[in-house]
Amino acid sequence: MAVTEQDVRHIAGLARLGVADERLPSLVGELNHILEHMAVLEKVDTKSVDATVGVGSLAMPLREDAGPQLPLARSRDAFAPAVRDGFLLVPRLATHTALGASSVDDEDSGTEDLE
């Protein structure tokens, strides 16, 4: 499998990496050169492998529903690029759908400016 300029533009979009057009051809070459070396994996027989459980496969430890909030040694304003009245500010979304919505069930408003 080899990537094309269009693929690279697409994945750069997904990753929110602004890739300049003039950099595209060399990136395509570099990625394909790396991907060539991955082809060897296709031939490996993995039918009997269950890779769903990670390395170590220890069961998950859980925490109690209590305890002090983890502290911050510096206020949020000290490291955030733009804060007002306690809110983090970002450039206004080009379009939005619901006021005060959460992206968990409304992430469309965030991806709209994809096109």
């Binding site: 990625l31 993995t46 890779a51 430890p61 502290p71 955030a80 450039p91 206004r92």
Partner: protein, 519 residues
């Protein structure tokens, strides 16, 4: 005490000297800063140090308890409490510290000072260690030479025309240049062991889950592990005793007892009188003697790590080390790890995939660099394209690609399956009675700056080290000789959580090689 004495004595001896009030705790810190100036460790020289603040480090040293008057610090409990009192510590710049910045050698985190501290740092500071610098690295730990730093490459103190290895090259160079006896690095595919080999020091990658990752800026979460550098095996073992063990803030940290790794230096290996639960993590060597401390230990020699193409001089040094193991009473057995050659392809799918997700948080919203643009999307893209360097960008793209719709099964899922086969290789060999494995750490010695411009060629530097990260097993590198005046590292690997056995072999080999280890 002279600077040379303060900085060149083993960490444990320095600690005892401070505890015995032979020197104030601030003295080794001052000596470390004088050494840094003398070897030109700053950006105009070896470029080892990214951030340091002598006044702040001295304040930390002065704040250490003075209760260590002679006789007080001798109880076992107090000794472990303050096992590193006054010992200077260098820390890789991807581990969160409260006073010095944590930039991951990236423009995207330039100037960022973490408002919380990594668990490993908290433990080391509680033991009395004093952070003297944050060290240079490949940006976000992506690289094998420390040439990918946004703040310029680090030079190898043993030969400034060569790289120190990477990605923890700054920490390795700090120890090699004598700034500290102990340093923290991080491993994802060999980033502690490979620079340790290139710089002629000891580097340990613990079992995945042995040391808390809380506060280690994630590169590839299923592979990452904080590791330690020491000038000697004992320095590294001492630091490991302090940082190992369960942390409730890391769900992948294991709830297992921590053996006293330094006991591995004893002829009987100390396993016999270790607490029962900790002893379960060490192999009993009932027939060990002072002359044959490794009686009963089986050292495996995996043939895949000794290919015909291996530099014969490196192979010869490995053979010499294996002879020493035999002389120490160990049985050396030829074994096979058949999936070894798949490690690099697997690694360069899994690691970039996880990285592409881990690095999504660097978006200009909550911390770090923000470059404004027309609207949100433009802000994201301007920030991330300006903030990330070439290699990081390449790996994010690669990782995004292998996870994207239509490619997940062919790349990511397949890679995870082959990864399981690589882990099975280790399990089978260890289940057959082998206690530790011995291999070369790297296929070459430190290469010249700029020698590897092809990314994939650079990736092959990790060919002998990435397997341990993929399988989660502990591994370490120690000096076993030199080729053309450049150090060569030998690698020990052990089953999950069997660091004790690994240290036992390492201590014995270090003692047996003596001065040969650097010649």
């Amino acid at each position: 005490m002279s600077d040379a004495r303060l900085l060149d004595m083993p960490a444990a001896a320095l600690r005892d000297a401070i505890a015995a009030n032979e020197a104030p705790a601030s003295e080794p810190v001052r000596a470390s800063f004088r050494r840094a100036a003398a070897v030109r460790a700053g950006e105009d020289g070896l470029n080892i140090v990214l951030h340091a603040d002598e006044a702040a480090s001295l304040r930390d040293a002065d704040a250490l308890p003075k209760r260590l008057s002679p006789g007080v610090g001798t109880t076992a409990e107090r000794a472990s409490d303050l096992a590193l009192v006054g010992v200077p510590l260098a820390v890789k710049d991807n581990i969160a510290t409260l006073t010095l910045p944590t930039s991951c050698a990236s423009h995207i985190l330039e100037g960022y000072v973490s408002p919380y501290e990594a668990t490993a740092i908290s433990r080391l500071r509680a033991a009395g260690a004093v952070v003297v610098c944050k060290t240079n690295m490949d940006e976000f730990a992506m690289g094998s030479s420390t040439e990918n730093s946004a703040f310029g490459p680090t030079l190898n103190p043993l030969d400034p025309t060569r790289v120190p290895g990477g990605s923890s090259g700054g920490s390795a160079a700090a120890v090699a240049a004598g700034l500290t006896r102990i340093a923290l690095g991080s491993e994802t595919g060999g980033s502690v062991r490979q620079p340790a080999a290139f710089c002629g020091i000891v580097g340990v990658k613990p079992t995945y889950g042995r040391v808390s990752r809380y506060g280690l800026v994630a590169f590839a979460s299923s592979l990452d592990q904080i590791g330690v550098f020491g000038r000697s095996v004992d320095d590294a073992a001492l630091a490991m005793e302090v940082i190992a063990g369960r942390d409730p803030l890391d769900a992948t940290s294991a709830d297992l007892p921590v053996p006293r790794y330094r006991d591995a230096a004893r002829a009987d290996g100390g396993a016999a009188d270790a607490p029962r639960d900790a002893a379960a993590l060490a192999t009993p060597l009932h027939t060990a003697t002072r002359e044959k401390p490794l009686n009963g230990l089986v050292v495996g020699r995996p043939k895949e790590y000794f290919p015909p193409s291996l530099d014969p001089r490196i192979a010869a040094l490995c053979d010499r080390a294996l002879d020493r193991f035999r002389a120490l009473g160990a049985e050396v057995r030829d074994v096979s790890l058949p999936h070894t050659d798949l490690a690099i392809p697997v690694y360069y799918i899994v690691a970039p995939a996880e990285a592409s997700s881990n690095l999504a948080r660097f978006d200009g919203v909550r911390y770090g660099l923000r470059v404004e643009g027309e609207g949100l999307r433009a802000m994201y893209e301007a920030t991330r394209s300006r903030g990330f360097g070439k290699e990081v960008t390449r790996r994010i793209l690669l990782g995004t690609y292998v996870l994207s719709a239509g490619y997940y099964d062919a790349y990511y899922k397949k890679a995870q399956q082959v990864r399981a086969l690589i882990a099975d290789d280790f399990s089978s060999v260890f289940a057959a009675g082998v206690h530790v494995l011995f291999t070369p750490t790297t296929p070459t010695t430190a290469f010249p700056l700029g020698a590897k411009s092809d990314p994939y060629e650079m990736y092959l530097s990790d060919i002998f080290t990435a397997t341990a990260n993929l399988a989660g097993v502990p591994a370490m590198s120690q000096p076993i000789g030199a080729v053309d005046g450049l150090p060569v590292g030998g690698q020990l690997l052990a089953p999950h959580f069997r660091e004790f056995d690994m240290f036992r072999a390492a201590y014995a080999l270090e003692r047996a090689l003596g001065a040969e280890a650097t010649a």
